[in-house]
Symmetry: C2
Subunit: 206 residues, 2 copies
Amino acid sequence: MTQQALAAPVADKTPRTARGQRTVRAILDAAAAEFGERGYHEGSIARIAQRAGVAIGSFYTWFDSKEAVFRALVADMSRQVREAVVPHILAAPDRLAGERAGLAAFLDFVRTHKALYRIIDESAFVAEDAYRAHYVSVAAGYASSLEQAFGKGVVSDGDWQVRAWAIMGMNVFLGLKFGVWDEGRPTAEIAAAAHALISDGLAPRR
Amino acid sequence: MTQQALAAPVADKTPRTARGQRTVRAILDAAAAEFGERGYHEGSIARIAQRAGVAIGSFYTWFDSKEAVFRALVADMSRQVREAVVPHILAAPDRLAGERAGLAAFLDFVRTHKALYRIIDESAFVAEDAYRAHYVSVAAGYASSLEQAFGKGVVSDGDWQVRAWAIMGMNVFLGLKFGVWDEGRPTAEIAAAAHALISDGLAPRR
DNA sequence: TACAGAGTTGAATACTGGTTCAGGTTTCAG
DNA sequence: CTGAAACCTGAACCAGTATTCAACTCTGTA
C-alpha cells in the first residue's frame, strides 16, 4: 500500500541497515492495512506484527507506541494524497479547470485507497493535531492558489479563507459519498457537476 | 446539555416511571459530556455513571452497552441539530437566503454544542450505519428542497445529488473550522461569504 | 400497612491488548 | 574469521474497564 519511503519513525529509532528499513516499511504497510480495515481502536499491534511477518518486539524496536505508527501513517498518507492530486491541478489550463481535474483525481484516489482515506479521517480523534495540520495546510494551499487565480482574472474576488474551507469540505464529502460509499457514477461526472456548482453557483442565470 | 426527551433506549428497557425517566435523561446528558470531552474510546461507563450520579448497575438497567448509549446519543443529536437549523431555513424568504440563515444557525449551534458535533463525527467510526443514516437523510432533505426551489425558479437546474452532498460538506467543514476551531469571526460573516460562493460561484461576472 | 414491581447498588468477574524484557540471531567492518 | 552493533523474538506482565449479578431500597396501590 505505502510504496514510498516512510515518514521517519521516532527519534533514534531510525533503521541503520537495509534490513531495518525493510522491516519498517513492512510494518507501515501492515499498519495501513490493519487500521484501514479495523480502524484505530479495533486494530491491534499483534495483528500488525503478524501481517508484517515480524515479532511484536520488532514493532517496538521501530515505533514507540500504537499511536506513533498511526501518526507516521497519517503523515505518509497526507503526502500521498497531495502527490496524487496536485499534478492534475497544475496541469490544467486555469485554476477553475484545475479544480475539476483535481476533484476527479481525488475521487479516483479515494476509490483505490479507501483505507488511507479512512485513516486520515480517523486521525481527527486519535491525533487531532496531525489532522488539523493536514487540513490547515491543504486549506492554506487552496487559499493562496485561489487568490493567485484572482490575480489572473480567472476567479472573482471574495473571502479566501472561507472559500478554501468550503471547497475543501465539499471535496471531502464528495469523496466520502462518491468515492467510498457509492462507486455507481463515473468520477468525471461528479467532478463536472461539482465544477459547475463552484464555478457558477446555484443562482439562475440572469 | 440534552434537554429534550431522549431517543428511547432499547427494547423493553424503557422507563416506566418518572423516576426512571429522570435517570435515563441524566445518563444521556452525562454520556454526552463524557464522550464529548474524552471521545468514545477514552470515555468510560464508570465515569458516565458517576457524572450522572448513579451506580454502574443503573446504567445497565437502561442501556445494553457502551455502544448503545452512544447510538442513542447520535440519534438525539441528529435531531437537535435539525431542530436548531431547519426553522431558520424555512423562515427565510427563499431557499438561497435560507441556506445562508441555516448556515449561520448551524455555526451558532456548533459553537455552543461542540460536544455534540464531535459525537456525530466520531460516530463514523463507532457506528458507521448511524453516521451514514444521519448524513444520507440530511442530504436527501437538501436535495429535495433544492429541487423544489428550482421549481420556483430560485435556483438553476443541476445535479441535485452532487449539489446536496457538496453543500453539506461545505457546511460541515465550515462548522469545524469556524465553529469548533476558530471562533474569531462572527458567524454571520462566514455565512455571508459562503452564501456568496454557493449563490454565484467563483467565476468572475461576465 | 403490606406487597410487588420498578429501580438501584457496586464489588467481583472476565477479558482484552498494549508494552516490556531477557535473551537469541544476523550482519558486516576490520 | 570474529566480535560488536543492529535486529529479532514472543511469552509474560499488567492496567484498564465493560459487563454481570445477587441483594437492597423506593414508590404507589389496595
